[in-house]
């Protein structure tokens, strides 16, 4: 049984925990403002706000209801557009209407949820951040111009900088962005007694964010016993020279982690390409690795950090190198009863690091090729290099031969050209929807050039690479 507050009301639902919240809302509760459009988290038309008590405070995130299982929302507040509506249009709705952000209206309710999520969470009224917050909402009608106009107006109308997190909900109620009942939600949620721990079946399917499971195997999940992982409290931490990333950390937690940003200053932008805000809010780092897609963005990222995985079972644990973890297409080195606990890497690996991704659509698309390079160097020579790429092999690929070649080489255009040539022979890309094999080979070379040009702009310049081909 799942107990939740849906908009204004406490409800209990006995549906299979694999049932997605979208079906709860539309079919079982008859609330049709939330739209059923793609059921794989690509269009965002089913976004709802998910609120829960964390750190003694009620926090909300916009998430896609099509990928959100009931089992993951016990004692949460689920808000649909019906839960935002008042007697007249609220200021967000007014702005959407006035600025021409609405044509057919099918994406509008979820756009409202994404915008409200922005106003609940953003530290300042930054337009670019607001655009990122709604970037997971596809609109086929407006060309987005009206949506941008509405965002500009709202960011000028409401100054979030003056609204501290602990007062935010009250401020939004005062601004009439949220209905008054939001002020009583924290109390309502706290009154829901914690569930008794249930013994998990050893072969239960472990569910992190569920964003891939429910996109690809929703029917199968209804037949499985499911074990829902709780939110990661540990997140990212440093231990001596290591950085340890909890496997249950969401991509958004990783993207906004202060420690992680210390190591990777461009991570905020790099990970914006990976997936939309509502997916980042749910998808976990561990899930992306376990899924073992050949173009897994985070697998490629961590491969170039020479990351190690901590795998645990009820009575044992072991460490395996990420590059040995991927055995073949969607094959991984994970025994029955084992689960991925954490990802470790040496912090020095983050010095001299570059991540690249190219896809059909720049944002929120599956890569044609993605790649990462980590380099340690001294006195103009490479000490060690770690190069990875997705989309060029059946697994997220680690370039053993190229890395071996690069070791102890001088940082020079000739080295880069030779490395690109070796890399080209290490891979066996196939022609598929993401691109022809010819394209992927060329693109990999270009991304290798891009890594070196970014990391060593004084030494590796395009003119030199281009002239010598």
């Amino acid at each position: 049984m799942t107990r939740l507050v849906l908009n204004r009301q406490l409800i209990e639902d006995h549906a299979n925990p694999a049932t997605v919240v979208l079906d709860l809302i539309r079919q079982r509760q008859g609330l049709t403002g939330t739209k059923d459009v793609c059921r794989e988290g690509d269009c965002g038309a089913c976004q709802v706000l998910l609120g829960s008590m964390r750190g003694g405070r009620l926090r909300y995130q916009a998430v896609n209801a099509c990928l959100l299982p009931l089992g993951a929302i016990d004692a949460c507040h689920v808000v649909t557009v019906e839960g935002l509506n008042g007697e007249s249009l609220n200021p967000l709705q007014r702005a959407l209407v006035d600025c021409g952000a609405i044509q057919c209206g099918f994406c509008t309710p979820s756009l409202m949820m994404a915008l409200t999520g922005f106003f609940l969470n953003a530290e300042t009224s930054n337009e670019q951040a607001a655009i990122d917050a709604v970037a997971g909402n596809l609109c086929r009608c407006t060309g987005y111009a009206g949506i941008k106009r509405a965002i500009t107006r709202l960011c000028r109308q409401f100054d979030l900088a003056g609204s501290p997190p602990e007062r935010r909900i009250d401020n939004l109620v005062h601004w009439q962005i949220l209905p008054a009942y939001f002020s009583g939600i924290a109390e309502k949620l706290s009154a829901i007694a914690p569930r008794d721990a249930v013994e998990q079946s050893p072969d239960a399917v472990l569910v992190g964010g569920g964003t891939d499971l429910w996109a690809t195997r929703p029917h199968w999940l209804h037949t499985q016993s499911l074990a829902f992982l709780s939110d990661s409290a540990d997140g990212v931490r440093f231990d001596a020279n290591d950085c340890i990333v909890d496997a249950a950390v969401t991509i958004e937690q990783l993207r906004t982690s202060k420690l992680f940003r210390q190591l990777f200053p461009s991570v905020t932008q790099d990970f914006e390409l990976i997936c939309s805000a509502p997916v980042r809010a749910r998808a976990t780092v561990g899930g992306n690795l376990i899924n073992a897609s050949p173009i897994a963005d985070l697998a490629v990222f961590f491969l170039a950090l020479n990351a190690r995985l901590l795998l645990v079972s009820h009575d044992a644990s072991r460490t395996v190198s990420l590059k040995d973890f991927f055995r073949g297409y969607k094959q991984i080195d994970l025994q029955s009863g084992e689960r991925l606990q954490a990802i470790h890497f040496n912090r020095t690996a983050a010095q001299g690091f570059s991540y690249e991704k190219v896809s059909m659509r720049r944002h929120l698309d599956i890569a044609a090729v993605n790649s990462a390079l980590g380099i340690e160097h001294a006195d103009g020579r490479i000490v060690t290099a770690r190069l990875s790429a997705g989309g060029v092999a059946p697994v997220p690929f680690y370039f053993e031969k190229t890395c071996a070649y690069l070791q102890d080489k001088s940082i020079a255009p000739a080295t880069v050209l030779a490395a690109a040539d070796i890399a080209r022979h290490e891979i066996a890309p196939i022609s598929d929807l993401r691109g022809s094999a010819e394209y992927k080979r060329l693109l990999l070379r270009q991304l290798i050039f891009a890594h070196f040009m970014k990391l060593f702009p004084e030494v590796i310049r395009w003119e030199q690479l281009h002239a010598r081909q």
Binding site: K35, V37, C38, R39, E40, D42, C43, A45, G100, Q103, C104, G105, F106, C107, I131, V134, A135, N137, L138, C139, R140, C141, T142, G143, Y144, A145, G146, I147, K148, A215, E356, V358, S359, M360, R361, R362, H363, L364, D365, I366, A368, L433, G435, S436, E438, Y439, L442, L443, Q446, L447, F449, A450, M453, W462, E463
Partner: protein, 666 residues
């Protein structure tokens, strides 16, 4: 037959039961030869209908006088509509075998007629009601009908309400798209860049059955010369039968495919003449009185005006200078600017469809209810109808409600398509309002005891005026008195666009009430290291008439442009060798997102248009074609980096094609 053709229907209590049962259906079949390519179908003689030819002047003779002649081939791809609401219908059985159908269709009249035919019912027995659609774009003009008919068949059999709703991937695999076109062109010019002759053959991939393909093919011919005057034209078009789902209407309706070919021809000719393509574009823009290849002269022609306004107001020469400076100082990023003039004919080219009906009720409390044949799908037609009615009665628009589109209130309605929803239905609503107004003025004259001077009565801002002076009679009192005096407060009116005709035996006539003109400047930046690109800004001067709803028209230009940009760049429909759609999800088929969207700057020319209601102009489709310019902007940017690149004129210009072009050696 086609890949994805429905062959059986499973009716069940729930969607999941229906899907489980459908998965168990076993089909015995054997494979027959199949073809999915238009040129191959043409080679095999697989045509939907015989070819059509439009011609003007004498092409053969003109070639002799040309200083330069270039030939080439082009390809433009299919495009999925991605209306966010998939195809859906809900049918309730009524007494005496009748049905009430709630359908997500642009053609309620068609759904009614086909269901009546399928179930052998009189059309009176089928009521179709449409409140609004979650997007249409042409994809629900013809293709909503199948699914509504399936639901109606099921509901009539089981005598229970039946709902059908396609999942996203069902919808993508089973319904038609924008027609892919192949084309051959030959263009001849004098040394100044004046186009003397243009010959083009279009091969349209129709899919398995006609659907709207022949009407779309005809519009391809109508727009073969786009916004240019070419004295000698020979345009041939043939609709080729393949085994794909029948392709269908999509914003632009064959026009974009035609315009892409001519722009490619101009681009290639410019290279041969070693001048800028924009120079050829400018030199050949249509002028007042010049004829289209189908015989109609261009009147109120604004091709030149839009072009000049864009050049001047938006300082294109300075913009070009800034681009040249940028390119000179950036090795790995290249910018380019391309211009795209458009000219689009407004009216259904099937002349009989240019008619509409409207029914207006004024209720005793002074509120006004309007029914008409226009379906709201996001294009704002209800807003426009409401404005027309409020303006005509001179009452506050919140007194006016535009009802659902319903076949019991409006008979024999044309589809909401061809950009003319507001033009046709607005005129009908206006005429109905005027009928009621006549009666109201008589009532007012009676109250003022000036019956002989009824023509001096007017209504302004909910008040009766006499001789230009306000009286004490307000709207509410007037309506109340009209009711008590037994005056008609309801009216139905019919409108038929005057003066449109087309003679297919001669391929000549006046098929359009008027044309919409415009010009766009599209600026792009290509990342020459990675082959990715950004559309920086699109500036448009659009010939919009006196708008019925300015915010609606702006949204139509912005949204239409974006779909055109998507068609030319990242929307890449792919099939396997068996005609199965490979990208049947929104994960695999990418439409523009907010990050993709450029800055858009639109200026409307708010000129009079005597040919349409209240001097407005239709707006739905024309802006789509501005997007074509992005293809040529990308090619120019690539050539700045790699002068050896010769474009294949195969759209969309995906990042893959861009990267391969940047590093191609021929």
């Amino acid at each position: 037959m086609y890949q994805g053709q429905p062959i059986a229907v499973v009716v069940a209590e729930s969607e999941s039961e229906a899907r489980h049962a459908a998965a168990r259906v076993k089909v015995d079949y054997r494979e027959l030869p199949s073809v999915f390519d238009a040129r191959e179908a043409h080679r095999q003689g697989l045509h939907i209908a015989p070819p059509r030819i439009f011609s003007l002047g004498d092409v053969e003779q003109a070639w002799q006088t040309c200083d330069v002649i270039v030939e080439g081939r082009t390809q433009s791809g299919a495009q999925e509509h991605v209306y966010l609401e998939t195809q859906t219908a809900l049918v309730y059985p009524l007494e005496n075998g009748g049905l009430r159908v709630v359908s997500a269709t642009q053609s309620p009249g068609m759904v009614q007629r086909i269901i009546a035919r399928v179930l052998k019912l009189a059309m009176t027995q089928v009521e179709v009601d449409v409140l609004r659609l979650g997007g249409g774009f042409g994809g629900k003009e013809e293709q909503a009908t199948t699914w509504a008919a399936i639901a109606a068949l099921a509901a009539s059999r089981v005598q229970r309400p039946v709902k059908i709703r396609l999942s996203r991937s069902d919808d993508m695999r089973w319904t038609g798209k924008r027609h892919p076109y192949d084309a051959d062109f030959k263009i001849g010019l004098d040394c100044s860049g004046k186009i003397l002759a243009y010959e083009v053959s279009f091969y349209q991939n129709a899919g398995a059955v006609a659907d709207l393909s022949l009407a779309i093919l005809e519009r391809t011919l109508f727009h073969a010369s786009n916004s240019y005057f070419i004295p000698n034209v020979r345009a041939t078009a043939v609709s080729c039968r393949t085994h794909l789902p029948p392709n269908t209407a999509f914003r632009g309706f064959g026009g974009p495919q035609a315009m892409f070919v001519l722009e490619a021809a101009i681009f290639k000719a410019a290279a041969a003449l070693q001048i800028d393509a924009a120079e050829i574009q400018r030199l050949n823009l249509l002028q007042e009185g010049q004829a289209f290849p189908y015989g109609m002269p261009a009147t109120e022609c604004r091709a030149g005006l839009c072009w000049e306004r864009l050049q001047e107001k938006h300082a294109l020469s300075r913009r070009q200078q800034a681009i040249d400076d940028f390119n000179a100082s950036h090795r790995l990023e290249k910018k380019a600017l391309a211009l795209m003039p458009i000219c689009f004919g407004i009216s259904f080219t099937a002349t009989f469809l240019n008619q509409a009906g409207a029914l207006v009720h004024v209720y005793a409390d002074g509120s006004v209810d309007v029914s008409c044949g226009a379906v709201e799908m996001g294009q704002g037609v209800k807003q426009k109808i409401r404005n027309i009615v409020a303006l005509t009665f001179s009452i506050a628009s919140d007194r006016v409600k535009v009802e659902s589109t319903n076949t019991s209130r409006i008979a024999n309605m044309s589809p909401t398509a061809a950009s003319v929803g507001a033009d046709l239905n607005g005129q009908a609503a206006l005429a109905a309002c005027r009928q009621i107004l006549q009666g109201l003025k008589r009532v007012a004259a009676g109250l003022l005891e000036i019956e002989a001077e009824v023509d001096k009565i007017g209504i302004e801002q909910e008040r009766v005026y006499f001789n230009g002076q306000p009286t004490t009679i307000g709207w509410n009192q007037l309506i109340s008195e009209a009711y008590l005096s037994r005056t008609a407060l309801s009216a139905h009116a019919h409108y038929a666009t005057p003066g449109v005709y087309f003679d297919r035996s001669k391929e000549q006539g006046r098929p359009f009430a008027y044309h919409v003109y415009g010009c766009a400047a599209i600026e792009v930046t290509v990342d020459c290291l990675r082959g990715i690109y950004r559309i920086d800004e699109v500036v448009i001067v659009h010939d919009g008439g006196k708008s019925l709803a300015p915010e609606v028209d702006l949204g139509q230009v912005e949204g239409g442009l974006m779909q055109g940009l998507g068609w030319m760049t990242i929307e890449d429909i792919r099939h396997d060798s068996q005609g199965r759609l490979l990208n049947d999800t929104l994960t695999a088929y990418k439409i523009p997102d907010i990050h993709f969207a450029p800055e858009i700057n639109v200026e409307f020319l708010a000129k009079d248009n005597p040919a349409a209601i209240l001097h407005s102009k239709a707006v739905g489709e024309p802006p789509f074609m501005y997007g074509i310019g992005v293809y040529f902007a990308l090619v120019k940017a690539i050539q700045t980096f790699n002068p050896a690149f010769e474009p294949e004129f195969s759209a969309p210009m995906t990042p893959e094609k861009v990267l391969l072009a940047l590093y191609s050696e021929t």
